[in-house]
């Protein structure tokens, strides 16, 4: 129940889309496949499915080439491109023709349509579907064979907030069942609440392959936002306890100035403030820094970027060495 890439490389002409990727996607968790647009995520997924053949290296599903699987849809379900359907065909017929290739019974088609909430439009031609509905149809196709491995390429594109929560819960549920779930995204913020493990690539190369917790730990996630009407007193108390505090200049809704505190765990900052008699109006992990860390990590691998100086190389080094 795994996907294994070994030295996977794909060149189109003189352009290298995927460059010597080695990774394993394991069961029982959601693996986030992260990289900026054009980093090679979709190409990697096409290589996994055998849609394109690698220039070098191999990628296997359950130890076999995807095309050698006994009943491919029962082993791996994939959503690569929600619009990759014939628009003149109804949702039901689309799923039926896919199910028939793997001898999956008809009633399963109705089942997955209801799982994704498309039963009401099952007989409608998919040409009229919104992007969100198309994503749901693509997810239904992936679920048809009740596979142990699921792969989604940018599944939340075009979904409304309700749809995003729905797919997040779906992926978490599939992983909790013990399934292998690989989901790609170019946004860290999406992965933050979904993925247990991260594979980060840039310009086709592997940048990081680690747990979400490790990634957070390496990303300066230790920064904590605190807000108090007595910022000076809190800064002194934090300093005395061995941390650093910076007044950010932001204020909370209540009007209290904000500080960014580093070098102390969140609980300790609370204790320090309490001991110093400083009232706290806010104490929270500085979430934004996770997205920043990702940006910094992939900065040197961004193909088209606006002219801004980024110290990407340093971040790269700190993450890969650990």
């Amino acid at each position: 129940m795994s996907i294994e890439a070994r030295g996977l490389t794909k060149r189109y002409g003189d352009k290298t889309a995927v460059d010597d990727l080695t990774f394993t996607v394991r069961p029982g968790m959601v693996t986030g496949f992260l990289g900026v647009n054009g980093a090679g995520k979709s190409t990697t997924m096409r290589l996994i499915l055998g849609l394109d053949s690698p220039t070098k290296g191999t990628v296997t599903v359950n130890g076999k080439l995807f095309s050698r699987l006994y009943s491919p849809m029962r082993e791996l379900g994939a959503l690569l491109d929600a619009k990759a359907v014939h628009g003149g065909r109804s949702a039901y017929s689309h799923l039926l023709c896919l199910a028939q290739t793997n001898d999956i019974p008809r009633n399963r088609v109705d089942e997955v349509l209801s799982v994704v909430g498309l039963s009401g439009v099952a007989r409608k031609r998919s040409r009229g579907f919104s992007l969100g509905m198309s994503q749901r149809l693509g997810i239904a196709a992936a679920l048809l064979g009740d596979p142990e491995i699921l792969m989604f390429d940018e599944p939340v594109n075009g979904l409304d907030p309700e749809g995003i929560v729905w797919i997040r819960n779906l992926m978490r549920g599939l992983a909790a069942d013990g399934r292998t779930v690989l989901v790609s995204s170019h946004l860290m913020s999406e992965m933050e609440h979904t993925a247990d493990h991260l594979i980060v690539i840039g310009k086709g190369k592997l940048i990081a392959d680690c747990t979400m917790a490790e990634f957070i730990a390496r990303s300066g996630q230790q920064a904590v936002r605190a807000s108090t009407p007595q910022p000076g007193a809190l800064a002194r108390a934090v300093l005395a306890a061995g941390g650093q505090a910076t007044i950010t200049g932001d204020v909370t809704v209540g009007g209290s100035p904000e500080l960014e505190v580093r070098g102390l765990p969140l609980e300790r900052i609370g204790d320090v403030a309490f001991a110093a008699g400083v009232p706290l109006h806010l104490l929270a992990p500085a979430r934004a820094s996770l997205e920043e860390a990702f940006m910094e990590l992939t900065a040197d691998s961004v193909e088209y970027q606006a002219g801004m100086a980024i110290s990407g190389q340093r971040a790269h080094a700190t993450v890969t060495e650990a």
Binding site: L51, Y70, M73, L80
Partner: protein
């Protein structure tokens, strides 16, 4: 705690509930063929093109036979040929487009990626597509040939020179007209698989059908006479469905001319298979 003693080893490990029965056979041609039939019947364009082919063929059969009525006294009068030639032209135009669409539309809509994710064995998918297309066009061609024949004979009934199904050569003409259509559909299908682009492939098919004989006409007669039998030329098509073959020395017989098209179908299918199985999807 009594229930625990019933299971001294603790609860049995949870068996995953399978929503789909396990596969009883390797996914292969039977299921994929069924799938390709579903694909064909579930899009409106299939029904429209086949209906256009049928109706237009029958109408042309009636018009052509009626127009040829004045020659009914002559020995070469061939009402079977008159009623079946139209479906060959329409076969190339309309069924040619159907053959191209059967595969190129999957590239146009990118459905091909979804299809290959369900059935990654490319040779199986390609064969299923070709067989489904051949079956559907064969059945439609048979119905069209028989209907066109009887409609055409009805149009010349007043001359009492119409052919009957038992007249010499009639059954052969019906058989070859029927076989020509799936042969040509497969030529178009193979080109569609190589070109992967609906408009481009349809242009290529029409170029072969209409431009090649025209270009050939510009060459010296000795050349065009020698090559004409290999092309979808007017005289060639009429030869295929002739109940009374002309015996022109430039042409093969009806079976021979159909075999030429069958040969093109084999070549196009093979080229398409190479492209389909080897190139990135």
């Amino acid at each position: 705690m009594a229930h625990l003693t019933d299971q001294p080893g603790g609860p049995a490990p949870a068996q995953p509930v399978r929503a789909v029965p396990a596969a009883t056979r390797r996914s292969g041609l039977p299921g994929t063929l069924l799938s390709e039939f579903t694909k064909l019947r579930s899009v409106r364009s299939t029904w429209i093109t086949l209906a256009v082919f049928f109706v237009a063929s029958v109408v042309i059969a009636v018009l052509a036979a009626a127009g040829d009525r004045r020659n009914s006294g002559q020995a070469q009068f061939d009402p079977a040929r008159d009623s079946l030639a139209g479906m060959l032209y329409l076969g190339m135009l309309v069924i040619g487009a159907t053959g191209v669409l059967a595969i190129a539309s999957e590239y146009g809509t990118r459905m091909i990626a979804t299809s290959l994710t369900a059935m990654p064995r490319r040779a199986v998918l390609y064969a299923a597509k070709a067989i489904a297309l051949a079956c559907v066009t064969l059945v439609v061609a048979l119905v069209t040939a028989v209907t066109s024949f009887f409609a055409g004979q009805a149009a010349v009934a007043s001359t009492h020179a119409g052919a009957s199904i038992t007249s010499p050569g009639t059954l052969r003409a019906l058989l070859l007209a029927t076989l020509f259509v799936p042969c040509f559909a497969l030529v178009a299908f193979g080109l569609g698989a190589v070109i992967r682009h609906t408009a481009g492939a349809i242009t290529a098919v029409f170029g072969l059908v209409f431009l090649l004989p025209m270009i050939l006409g510009a060459f010296p007669a000795s050349w065009s006479n020698a090559l004409g039998r290999w092309l979808p030329d007017n005289t060639v098509l009429l030869q295929i469905v002739a109940a009374k073959p002309t015996g022109q020395h430039d042409l093969f017989g009806p079976y021979g001319e159909l075999a030429v098209f069958a040969g093109y179908a084999v070549i196009a299918l093979a080229a398409g298979a190479m492209a389909f199985c080897r190139r990135d999807a």
